[in-house]
């Protein structure tokens, strides 16, 4: 009897192998015709706007806010999943506790909402 994660690891190995093989073979089978314009950043034909070397650039700060909200809600989910699995064992106490938890979280949620944390312009 094998560890139940073994098939998952094998699947991962196959998937990774396939993807890595595809990426590795792509420059070998395709043609190579040098053209300076082709290697520039594609901006629909206009001169590419200057970018910092090595990728990256400026981005709206609202995305950071979304990422932080994601982490908060993800943690809420992490608490709710185990409760949902063992709801029967926890009984009425668990029900009250989890509803209080969601309510507490909901107030924080409302606060962010009122302060415009979910708004995009």
């Amino acid at each position: 009897m094998l560890d139940p994660y073994i098939p998952l690891v094998l699947m991962f190995a196959l998937a990774f192998g396939f993807a890595a093989f595809s990426v590795a073979i792509a420059p070998l089978v395709g043609p190579r015709r040098y053209n300076k314009a082709k290697l520039d950043a594609y901006e629909c034909g206009i001169e590419p706007s200057p970018q910092p070397v090595g990728g990256g650039g400026r981005m709206p700060v609202a995305y950071y806010l979304t990422a932080m909200m994601f982490i908060l809600f993800d943690i809420e989910m992490v608490f709710l999943f185990p409760y949902a699995v063992s709801a029967d064992a926890l009984g009425l106490y668990g029900v009250v506790a989890v509803i209080l938890f969601i309510l507490t979280f909901g107030f924080a949620d409302l606060y962010v909402w009122r302060r415009g944390g979910f708004d995009w312009d």
Partner: protein
Amino acid sequence: MNETARLIADDPIWLILIKVVGTFAFLVVMTLLTIWAERRVIGRMQQRPGPNRAGPFGMLQSLADGLKLAFKEDIRPVMADKWIYILAPVVSATPALVAFSVIPVGGRVTIFGEPTALQLVELPVSLLVVLAAASVGVYGIVLAGWSSGSPYPLLGALRSAAQVISYEIAMGLSFIAVILYAGTLSTSGIVAAQQNGWFFALLPFSFLVYAIAMVGETNRAPFDLPEAESELVGGFHTEYSSLKFALFFLAEYINMVTVSALATTLFLGGWHAPWPLYLIGDGVLNTGWWPVLWFLGKTLFFLFVFVWLRGTLPRLRYDQFMNLGWKVLVPLSLVWICAVTAIRGIREADLLGSQQFLFIGGGIVVLLLLVAFLVPDRQPPEQEQQEPVAPLSGGGYPVPPLDLKVPESPRETRVSATSGTRSRLPEAGQEPTSSTKEAPDGND
């Protein structure tokens, strides 16, 4: 440890390898066929044939396209960060392929004399594997956009990542009610819990939220903002070509197949036969290889809905889309989870009889309605009143009359004139409507 887990745990290594390769081949073939089917269906919806040259009904079109992609030039922009640029497609495609392995395709079967279950991996935390794989897939998108060294991919990647993580919250919250009723995180356990009734009927709101979230999660129309051609060219994969681009494409379609299969598993009873069919022969259609048919049918239904949505709905604006996620789906999901938890907890604890239960439930509904009526409607902003109001008629500036009647088309007049009956023309005395009288006033 349920029956499926015991069956799978006894698999010899050669059977595991067969299943791994089988799952991989299934996903790749499904991708090729889904792309073909999508182009055919969307073609039919747009009154054109779609691809119909390569192979029977054009079925080999996507295979031909894939081969063609392999022999295209592999371009790496000068501004790109070399290794991350190369790594990003791998990071995107690998978790997409892994996520499907926890989906139960069928029940107990016998392969080469070895009893097993048609599922690659059975874990006590299968659903978390799907969520984890989806989260890792976001890294591929962000890294691809960031490493391209080009503004459009960067913006597309950020949009895509924000979208996927926003809708992942809604998706994860829609799981919770299902887990509550199934009592387990294992996918085969959830399928087994739906033996007597599918969860989409028991938990309709969860199903609705999941159905919306799965479209947002896979960046598909009408939520395909990361690939909004008019704004962002191709989104995060603008700078990719050749097989690297093919990997992103593959990941997108495999993710579609996976979320469809997960919708089937969580809400449509997984591989169980639909209602009238499981009564035949004491459930013989739920055994052996039959479940694969039901599973595929339900999954293909969801895939068709994806294409249907793309053919029907226009793209949302980005702020509308994020509002839908954060201000509608997530808060309503939390309320729904509270309601489901409370109802279930009260039922289990036998605190109340069904009559008291109805009374209290009715009271809550009435209270909510009262609150909804008492909350004042949003006042229109002040700016609208300050704006100069255009004069409706007269007043110096020539304004066309707003209730102008559309004149009858001359063609119709001619037709009715030649046919000799004047019944279709409005007679002068019969319809002295106010609009015809006011029309000249406005033009004066």
